[in-house]
Symmetry: C2
Subunit: 527 residues, 2 copies
């Protein structure tokens, strides 16, 4: 029997409150004990990756209390309820099925009379067939010439995740020969976004993907119109250059305006949709369906680990619990995501949406105000770049920001140079190792300006190489982390009511239905 309780009503919460100053990281990470922690505080992920939390402010006592929290808050049972098809998104009365796009973790899920795993696989297969035909030139432009570029039109979850995934694999695909088509993205309602992308592509050889679950997203429909104008101006038939990704109930689903339509449904939130048709269409076109399938397999393997009840065998759950400890017990307000991989340049922006839109809430799943803080601010940039930028504050600022590093043993492109007896990849890795220790242990120094307090916690995920599999695993790890944190905080992590009010007011402005300050702002902006 699952019980949904507020975090501050739990016995384990009270226990954790007594463990606030349990670990002085600076001491814990010094000497032989530090090496022991690095060896022991490491959890296997899938695909040869590890989650290492040696430099977090935890010890066995805290970990035991977090395990109690996991048990008391029934994380395993709640995850099972989710993947077995219960209505976990209570606000919108919806199932939450994004894991089902990459594998089946429990019993068959039937909704609206359809086996949903079969539905998602069917869409993947349809996309795969379509992509193969495009790559073979069987689906081509009106002159019978192959499409060379794919342009995704979408915003929010239809943009950030797929874009981050594309960038993550673009160079890898070029080197491995799986690269098929360039991808571009149009998202912002700022007319300069669409105009700029369209000016930079060869529209006659471009295929456009319109992504909108409802088929009514204003930004996306506006940008579609931009694209149609560009195609028309080039003397082309827009309906021969566009496909749709939408729900099968949307007005776009059966429109003759598109070459074809691929489906998602209401059980996959935008920010969780990279492994659905939303990511599937663009990634299959860009890299081929086999690469997309490998990406899904990577995610599926990581999802399977999230079922483990032992937190030492469940990296997402452990990561989630440590995050809660940092947020609610240690009182940290932000978390920085710092991948040491240029290919992950937009991965932090995707996680920013994933996390902040899921858990940036003040009411529990019953719509009651909670008395504790919830989701943190998430930000980040790739290292080593960030080291020459905002790391100053991370090291010596007045607030402590927990850090989430990601690193890979091998680069993607295998082109490297040796300078001062080391390769760039070695330098990259040496920097992340050095940063972890600098943050944890700091440096004593009489000159306070050069003094580093230390005690700044971080974890690191290490993989062999950024590939479709490890990327899928990384994505699933963070999706599951956010889900577990939502369970602990007793939130509905799958709706987003906070985005509605702005939409309503924007419509008022556009229809001239304004007064007072809103009218004054409209005037200021010369709308």
């Amino acid at each position: 029997m699952i019980e949904w309780k507020n975090f501050d009503k739990l016995n384990s919460f009270k226990k954790l409150q007594g463990l606030k100053n349990q670990v002085e990281l600076k001491t814990a990470m010094a000497g032989a004990n530090g090496a022991k922690r690095v060896a022991e505080y490491s959890v296997h992920m899938s695909n040869g990756m590890v989650y290492n939390f040696a430099s977090k402010q935890v010890d066995d006592t805290v970990l035991d209390a977090l395990a109690e929290l996991a048990e008391e808050t029934q994380l395993t049972e709640k995850f099972a309820a989710l993947f077995n098809g219960e209505v976990i998104n209570t606000g919108e009365k919806r199932l939450v099925l994004h894991q089902l796009t990459r594998g089946q973790l429990g019993s068959d899920v039937v909704a609206d009379g359809v086996n949903k795993r079969e539905f998602y696989v069917e869409q993947q297969n349809r996309i795969a067939e379509f992509a193969k035909k495009v790559h073979a030139g069987e689906i081509a432009n009106e002159k019978g010439e192959k499409f060379t570029t794919v342009v995704q039109i979408g915003i929010g979850g239809s943009d950030l995740g797929p874009r981050a995934m594309y960038l993550a694999l673009e160079n890898w695909a070029k080197v491995t020969g799986t690269f098929k088509m360039e991808a571009r993205f149009i998202s912002n309602v700022d007319p300069d976004d669409a105009a700029s992308v369209l000016a930079g592509v060869d529209v006659a050889h471009s295929i456009f993907i319109l992504v909108s679950k409802s088929g009514t997203t204003l930004e996306t429909l506006t940008n579609e119109s931009f694209v149609k104008d560009a195609l028309k101006n080039a003397g082309l038939d827009a309906s021969k250059h566009m496909i749709a990704v939408t729900s099968d109930a949307s007005p776009l689903a059966k429109s003759s305006d598109y070459l074809d339509a691929f489906f998602m449904d209401d059980y996959i939130g935008g920010r969780y949709s990279s492994t659905s048709s939303v990511g599937g269409a663009v990634l299959s076109l860009a890299f081929g369906p086999d690469v997309f399938a490998r990406f899904l397999n990577g995610a599926a393997a990581e999802d399977a680990l999230a079922k483990n009840t032992d937190i030492r065998k469940n990296p997402a759950m452990l990561d989630a619990l440590i995050g809660v400890y940092e947020r609610n017990i240690l009182g940290y307000e932000s978390t920085a995501v710092l991948p040491y991989s240029q290919a992950l340049s937009r991965f932090p922006a995707h996680l920013q949406q994933l996390d902040m839109e899921s858990n940036g809430k003040s009411v529990n799943r019953f719509g009651e105000a909670v008395d504790y803080v919830t989701g943190p601010v998430i930000f980040g940039e790739p290292g080593t770049n960030g080291q020459h930028s905002f790391y100053q504050l991370l090291h010596q600022g007045t607030n402590i920001i927990p850090l989430q590093f990601v690193g890979f043993k091998k680069s993607q492109m295998a082109t490297d140079v040796v300078i001062e007896d080391s390769t760039s990849q070695q330098k990259l890795k040496a920097n992340v190792a050095a940063q972890i220790m600098a943050f944890a242990c700091g440096k004593d120094e009489d000159n306070r300006n050069k003094y580093f307090e230390g005690n700044r916690p971080s974890s690191i995920i290490v993989g062999e190489q950024l590939t479709p599999e490890t990327l899928g695993a990384l994505l699933a790890h963070f999706e599951n982390k956010v889900m577990f944190q939502g369970f602990v905080w007793n939130l509905n992590s799958f709706d987003q009511e906070g985005v509605q009010l702005g939409k309503v007011l924007a419509k008022k402005v556009l229809s001239g239905d304004t007064s007072d300050a809103l009218a004054a702002y409209a005037k200021l902006l010369d709308i």
Copy 2:
């Protein structure tokens, strides 16, 4: 006589502490009073822009107290000391002269026997001559063909600022016909960064700018080697494809490895260097020296306003003071920068460095620990994209995040579509107006899930259009804001000792000089 005092020792600080719950924004912005605030709480910037702070949690009482703070902390005098050439960067015993690259605000500044304004202008003129020759084909590749692409090799301040400025003006320049050359940027020591950029450019027609003040930045020299290899592999003479931007004392200054070298000096910090040769070379090559000159003029006009003692006539100072009130009195830890302009996509990343590296410090300018919080976490993405992402937390999360909006009346490219009776630019502007009001006033609703608490403060900077002038003014505004906040917090905003420890430890890893936890991390990463 200037006195450098800690913030918490000031009378005005104590006064401000008594004004913590002075303004209920939700009430203040409702009805006619809200419209009045929008009209009155607006300060002229240069170049036709305004800084509007109607939706900040301030009123005339708070503003009076902030004016007292400005006076007590001698902001005007300290700025004058800075631009007149005093040693404001006390830690490194350096002058702080970035404003002097765009105009002279006070008396002649002579350092190292050189009139520094003349020195900066001389470099600008040398760059302008060089760029004109490149554009005219007088400086060309070995076959006498014109260079078409410029690639900046730099990291931190040599990357983020120039890159953000380039992206901000790229489309504008294309539309106005001032576009001269594509620009690309190599920054990360991750070998995939250089390999990817080099794979995407035509090296035979590329000119590379090596940017390193000291001439010793490891990432940058490593990436230079990457570039030299690529040029060599293409059968080209690297010295005919590279220029250097460095200090005149650096080993690069007179090297025959470069076509030419342009100079900056120790009085311009990396994060303040976009208006120096660091931004000057790449922006003059990309857009022509006239555009760069206009950018400098925009900044100069904004700098001039920063001299005003009246905070109602000094937008940077007012913005700074309100930020301090939010940080130290209201207790907010982060600030989001939200430009409603896709062209400003990397402007938040630049401000993140500018602000967090300048004021993310725990010691005052005398090296004594301070007892108050200093620089906030800065993050942001362009709107409307962010609305479909992390705005959920901004609206309904458990912490309040002050917001800094930027908007323009006109788009850059003047290509637009009308959908539902409005252009995209109108929709873009309607959204930012709507968001400000949604954040300020919220929405009452019995269903707590759809309830918006409001009372979430924001300001907006509005300009006619994003042009070289307004971009320069925006940049100067934020540079000066950060400077004034540093003065209030009694920090040295111009050094960055917090980046040193990581460098030292990374060298140890690379030389194998590790033990204990650092050795264990090196092993984990297979270095």
